[in-house]
């Protein structure tokens, strides 16, 4: 029980302390860098396998759906359907 509370408190402080206050050091490119990194690590699991081809094909569907519709949710849904079908 206590380790769970420590984990919860530590996680909260990691999120809050660097964010508090109105001024602080410029974040530079931390946001974009983290978003690109999160995409790559979530899409392609190690080790490389045939799943990468399936993932790439479904990502193409997501991209095309986004280009045609500009709708975030719809594009994600179509990508999920494509991934399940491929």
């Amino acid at each position: 029980m206590i380790p769970i509370l420590v984990l919860a408190l530590g996680t909260f402080l990691l999120r809050y302390l660097p964010w508090r206050g109105e001024r602080g050091p410029s974040p530079g490119q931390a946001g974009p860098a983290l978003v690109v990194a999160l995409f790559l690590v979530s899409a392609f699991a190690p080790p490389p396998s045939w799943l990468w081809a399936k993932t790439l094909a479904a990502l193409c569907v997501v991209f095309l759906a986004w280009r045609l519709s500009r709708h975030l949710g719809l594009s994600v849904l179509l990508g999920m359907a494509a991934y399940a079908l491929f």
Partner: protein, 221 residues
């Protein structure tokens, strides 16, 4: 005098609506987490407590995994906290658009951060807090509802043909769309590829921390 509903949704509702792609991705992972937690020997209420208080998927899985391997709960909590180091970079990246607040910080997961970074700059200053709160609440509810289903018994959901597989692709699809505007930014791309290389070596958490540090230190040419 009759009153008419506002033609535009409140910022909180806008945030809740923006959360549904995140919720779609969270739900199956949370169901899997709930099932894994009970499988690791934790009581269902303890599994639910983790999701209610920590709200950080990867570190919750790491915590469970280490417990299942026989590690002490303190070591498991320490390793899970190391995994969450990357969260320290999210607040400063959002600060130009939204001042930090304890309640908002509680909801600051990877996905909430990425959606907020895309959406907040286009919103009026007055609407940003409500939007972020709605976004975070939507994600939090999905994560906890999924944990609850997994922990208290709904394994059949993942076994429906195609459903579990399709749902597992929701977060990569969402992250692709959020990353698209940044793929021509050489700093973001370089840091992302470095994180990916470490991910392939099994060091995903450190890769993400390194990407945050590099992005923080480098300035766009």
């Amino acid at each position: 005098m009759a009153t008419f509903p506002s033609p535009t949704p409140s910022p909180l509702r806008q945030g809740l609506l923006a959360a549904w792609p995140v919720a779609l991705g969270y739900f199956p992972v949370a169901v899997a987490f709930g099932m894994a937690g009970v499988g690791a020997g934790l009581a269902p209420w303890a599994v639910q407590l983790l999701s209610l208080l920590v709200f950080a998927g990867a570190s919750q899985f790491a915590f469970l995994g280490l417990l299942a391997e026989g590690a002490s709960p303190w070591l498991a909590a320490g390793v899970a906290l190391l995994l969450n180091l990357r969260h320290a970079f999210y607040g400063p990246a959002l600060r130009p658009y939204l001042a930090g607040h304890p309640l908002l910080a509680f909801f600051l997961t990877d996905e909430v951060f990425a959606v907020a970074l895309k959406s907040l700059p286009g919103l009026p200053q007055a609407a940003r807090t409500g939007f972020f709160l709605g976004l975070g609440l939507g994600a939090y509810l999905a994560w906890n509802l999924g944990t609850s289903l997994g922990a208290f018994g709904a394994a059949q959901l993942q076994e429906l043909p195609g459903v579990g597989e399709g749902l597992s692709f929701a977060l990569p699809a969402l992250f692709l769309l959020l990353a698209l505007p940044h793929l021509r930014n050489p700093v973001a791309l370089g840091a992302g590829l470095l994180a990916f290389a470490l991910h392939l070596l099994g060091q995903t958490a450190w890769g993400l921390v390194l990407a945050g540090v590099l992005g923080f230190l480098w300035r766009r040419p």
